[in-house]
Amino acid sequence: MSNLNEMKNIIIEKTLKLDCGKEISNFPLAYETYGNLNEKKDNAILIFHALTGDQYASGINPITKKEGWWNYAVGPGKSFDTDKFFVICANVIGGCMGSYGPGTIDPLTNKPIGTNFPVITINDMVNAQYNLLDYLKIEKLFAVAGGSMGGMQVLQFVSNFPNKAKVALPIACTASHSAQNIAFNELGRQAIMSDSNWKEGLYDEKSTNPDKGLAVARMAAHITYLSKQGLQEKFGRNLQERSDLKFGFDADFQIESYLRYQGSVFVDRFDANSYLYITRAMDYFDLTKQYGGNLSKAFKDTKTKFFIISFTSDWLYPTSENKDIVIALNAIGADVGFVEIKTDKGHDSFLLDVPDFLSTIKNYLNTTYSNINERRI
């Protein structure tokens, strides 16, 4: 973790009142930026990450040495073209890549805060990140964008800070976390909490972590990110490095081996308690309820241009839930575009090489940016 020193972060001194009632202050928020802020300061895009993402959206993540989570979309000449735009991405509070989270060392005990960390919400995450814009002296963003939990943050951001962003791109998300999604998150949390190493969340990161529980949580979640058709085409009933069934419980099938691998690499980069806190924040997300059952009210008088995208094979955040956002925006005459992209890659589509998706965003952003500038002249 020698690269930890290179990590950009700000200390937010201002008190942030959390939805749970507790207050936090003097806490770190880690972030990364790509591209350059232009003189007019009108080319900034704030990107929000999903459940297991972090601030390293593009290039090589200096901690994990792997490609950034949105490397297909963010970079020079890509959808979010960093030759043109200044892309900002922060690690959410509750996360484990340098921002204030359950893994943060409590100076009093010299141990991770663990489950003494307050329960946070999507609203809290967004409010914390707003401080970064003040710090970077960005008065108005060109765009806010994100998929999945990142999309929820987009919706929360535009409702909390109306007209702070000219364009909003919520992708493969929902305005209200469904029972099915809460159920899957609970499955993951139970896997972690039933690992004897979890110790009510007060495990010491340096010794034994609830890795087994976290790996199972990841395996279960990973299935929900893919589509049945995608799995069938990629793995089918193919066997893993063997010519026949072994009549045991080793990974006979490629899909088993694949999931085990996904679980095992995940525990190297993610904190189990962060997983609990962030999934909880997603479950608590209900923007419709926040606005008294009328989602349109969340976007009242908005001048932001919305572009909502869903995927045909995404059954976790299905088109119908994305369309509910479109309907709420149309009900108040907001400027909204919507398309459902055809793909068999499931919910994960937004992170993958889906050319239709990537090119449509790229063209939309570039044209909209020049349209807005032309109108200004």
Partner: protein, 198 residues
Amino acid sequence: MKEEFKVISKFIEEKSRVLDVGCGDGILMEYLLKNKVVDVRGLEISKEKVKKCLSKGLAVIEGDAENDLKQFPDLSFDIVILSQTLQAFMSPENVIENLLRVGKKVIVTIPNFGHWKVRLDLLLKGEMPVTKNLPYQWYNTPNLHMCTIQDFYNFCNNKRVNIYKSISLNGEKISNITTSNLKYKNLISELGIFLLEK
């Protein structure tokens, strides 16, 4: 069909809120944005065409007029446009009803099945007409409910829909349709353009 767009554009006042139902590649939307100060939205059923529109930065949503017009509140647009799409719906009647609910005024354009070439085709050949404007065979046409300008007039009368203006388009020739020249215009028009009010 530049002439069609010109006629439509003349019907639209500056600073109007416009919805283009079945906006296709967004050519009419672009034409309006270029020539008028309007706030224009689009609804389109084809994913490919929606992607093209969004790539051009147009506010277009993927959807089907027979199901997705519901989400727009009453009278939420000054003008709703339906260009050469009416004949493709399962229920043109319901669509027109919804257009008139959503828009203060509605522009409908229809390819005229009463044009003399169409009539002649059926009369002489005894085959379903295939023309420049109606290039499909009976077995692959998306046009489920073809009508003539006369039919559309009758429909509006029966439904008590006010035809505010009606224009005939024959090649590049633009002319008014009136009750006295209706029979003739129904014979020579390739396209009928109607401005409707409830």
